[in-house]
Subunit: 411 residues, 2 copies
């Protein structure tokens, strides 16, 4: 049987310990929701002040050049690229994930103009499906979005599929998709692939160029700790750049924005993925989070993340048997991202009861409890404390109080 | 002849004086570029700290509800709506102007499915034209973007035009479009109209519902003082809502985002203009700028703005004759937004010489010098000092120094 000392010992020898102090997490909180919103790096406080008070307040429009505002998307993109196995000039930060997905799906359909199918996993994070549905409806050329679940996925990648759009790490279960199998099958039938890296970047090794990936998108506010609603990033493999044009043309994607020409001339590099002016404050804090992540060793992050997940599952098995929880994440760490999800019939009030006890996880309808691990700030003891608190909640029936039932009813 | 005392007296009796102190403008700077980037309201410094340190740092994911992050776009939208003659529920803040224009142009083409033409002013701010070009190319149904300049514009609004997309206040000349003439002609031929309010909102009276407007977009970082790259806003008249669907479907535009359904079901109100997660830090500072603007009287803003423009032009006539400047903004204040533009053969080095002397205006290729007035922070004496400095620069040939020539060459 595990005990708390075991977790304390792991913290003492954790090679990532030095990062703990770089975050401004509230005292007494066990934060296991970095897979939804990463916590605040202390440096981001200073950066926010600098951007608002110095760059905007003092330097005003000069900052477009002096503070590098205008090219921040490329700069951050290159840094993120280094985290996901892309070369400089293949990634740019801008807009949000849904909009960037619209851009790359449009590109993919243009590149496979003789095909009409977009293949998605039905249980994708919904926005991915919605974007594909909006795009095909908008085009009106008889494109269709077809769905397959994991077991049927490889078989569903056929010669009439233009593009396969998949989440790399599943937002609910944390399951990692079998990239190799998808890429091989897609290549064999000439389909393009878009990877959604929202739950991967900063948490799980990603090697886009090794994968011979085509396109990818991802968000900045989860494991990259870029702040609430931080802008997204988009990857376009070098070999696909400059040949087709994403449809959200705007002046920032023009080859010479300040020429103010009447007609659009697309940039021929990753800059073409830009559309309009970017939210500089949010971009700046994204950069701060990314900078921090580039100083960490992804191998160590991954090792710690896997171990945390394994220990979490072991503790759930040991301490929560008979309370109606079912682990829905893969038990094999190799197949699991940096979160563990389980189902419970009364998941919502249970999560509420944990939150009241300073354990922050989240709930996803209809019955999923998600707990994410950010190896730069999550301590091993957090896992112990979380499961022990949950055991207490279940033993004493603390989740089944009238107050939580009322909250459940209004949500 | 005017003199500095005259300007000082105007400042003394300016009913907007109390707003001066609400901005954090650097000492000694004459800032006449709020038409590009509005200056920092002091309250925005505090708000930035609150959002970063308290809402993100302390409250983490709770802030989506507790701090109202999720519905901030509607809240800010309603406030902006109050500034531009829209009802609650007709405006929402999100994304950037180019992307919002893509949404409303798409809607307009859907609503006029039997027509193929988008009419733009060729000298529109270029991104407007680019968005229309990208959209028509993407659709590939033989839509075309046709251009007309001001003199031919009304005649060009014909029965085969689906939508007319115009800037209300021209970004270079500051000229205000004749809204009544455009709306009447458009209505008579069944064309829809999109107004780009980037240089209008917060500076010039706009009455969208009185105009019987269809759609509008605008940006938050100019006269709304929302900070660099602040998100944009989009207006859809109530009568057009819920009937058609903008194509950038994402989970934020779904009627029930947290149901996580597989298939998209559009919200039937302004929320449908949402796509993905918004950059909360940048949104928050936009709200702060908008809040400030809602406390000001638009009638007073407009009166001061007109008077400043008139005085600027009068001073240019008096003090800069023979130096090769030509006013290209309307001399009639009724036809002019909150800026005055003039041309000069060596506009770029002249603007640089002014900047070196703490007078901040800007330059737009090929030969335009722009000077904007933000009635909440621009003082009358700023106008005097600016023209006097420019006179000095021209008299002493200070713009024609090797250092400015070198800068001109590298830009």
């Amino acid at each position: 049987m595990l005990n708390r000392e075991h977790f304390e010992d792991l913290d003492k020898t954790d090679p990532l310990t030095s990062f703990y102090e770089e975050f401004d997490l509230p005292e007494g909180i066990v934060y296991l929701d970095g897979n939804s919103l990463g916590p605040l790096p202390k440096k981001s406080k200073e950066r926010a002040r600098q951007v608002v008070e110095q760059e905007w307040g003092r330097d005003l429009i000069k900052s477009w050049n002096k503070a590098g505002w205008f090219h921040m998307g490329e700069r951050i993109g290159d840094k993120i690229g280094g985290l996901i196995g892309a070369d400089p000039g293949e990634v740019i930060a801008c807009d949000n994930t849904s909009i960037n997905l619209f851009k790359v799906l449009s590109l993919a359909l243009d590149m496979r103009a003789d095909r009409r199918k977009i293949l998605m996993e039905g249980s994708n994070f919904p926005t991915d499906n919605y974007v594909a549905q909006g795009l095909t409806k908008h085009l009106g050329y008889g494109h269709e979005v077809i769905f397959a679940e994991r077991d049927q996925l490889i078989d569903a990648i056929t010669e009439d599929v233009a593009v396969v759009s998949l989440v790399h790490v599943h937002y609910k279960t944390g399951r990692i998709m079998d990239v190799k199998a998808v890429m091989e099958k897609a290549r064999s039938v000439g389909a393009l692939v878009v990877w959604d890296l929202c739950h991967s970047a900063g948490a799980v090794p990603v090697e886009l160029n090794d994968w011979k990936a085509d396109f990818a998108v991802g968000c900045g506010y989860k494991y990259l700790n870029g702040g609430p609603g931080a802008p997204s990033f988009v990857y376009v493999a070098k070999r696909h750049q400059g040949r087709f044009r994403q449809p959200l043309d705007g002046w920032w994607g023009h080859k010479a924005p300040f020429d103010f020409t009447r007609d659009y001339e697309p940039a021929e590099d990753i800059w073409q993925m830009m559309t309009g002016t970017q939210p500089i404050l949010s971009m700046s804090l994204l950069e701060e989070g990314v900078d921090q992540m580039t100083r960490a060793d992804m191998g160590l992050i991954r090792e710690k993340s896997k171990r945390m997940g394994d220990l979490f599952i072991q503790l759930v098995d040991e301490k929560l048997e008979g309370y109606g929880f079912e682990i829905v994440s893969p038990r094999d760490a190799e197949e699991r991202g940096s979160q563990v999800a389980m189902t419970h019939e009364y998941g919502y009030p249970v999560v509420q009861a944990l939150i009241e006890r300073n354990i922050i996880g989240d709930f996803r309808a209809p019955d999923i409890l998600r707990f994410g691990f950010g190896p730069l700030y999550t301590r091993y003891v957090n896992i112990w404390d979380m499961v022990e608190t949950l055991q207490d909640v279940m033993q004493k029936n603390l989740w089944n109080l009238p107050e939580y039932q009322a909250k459940a009813a209004v949500t």
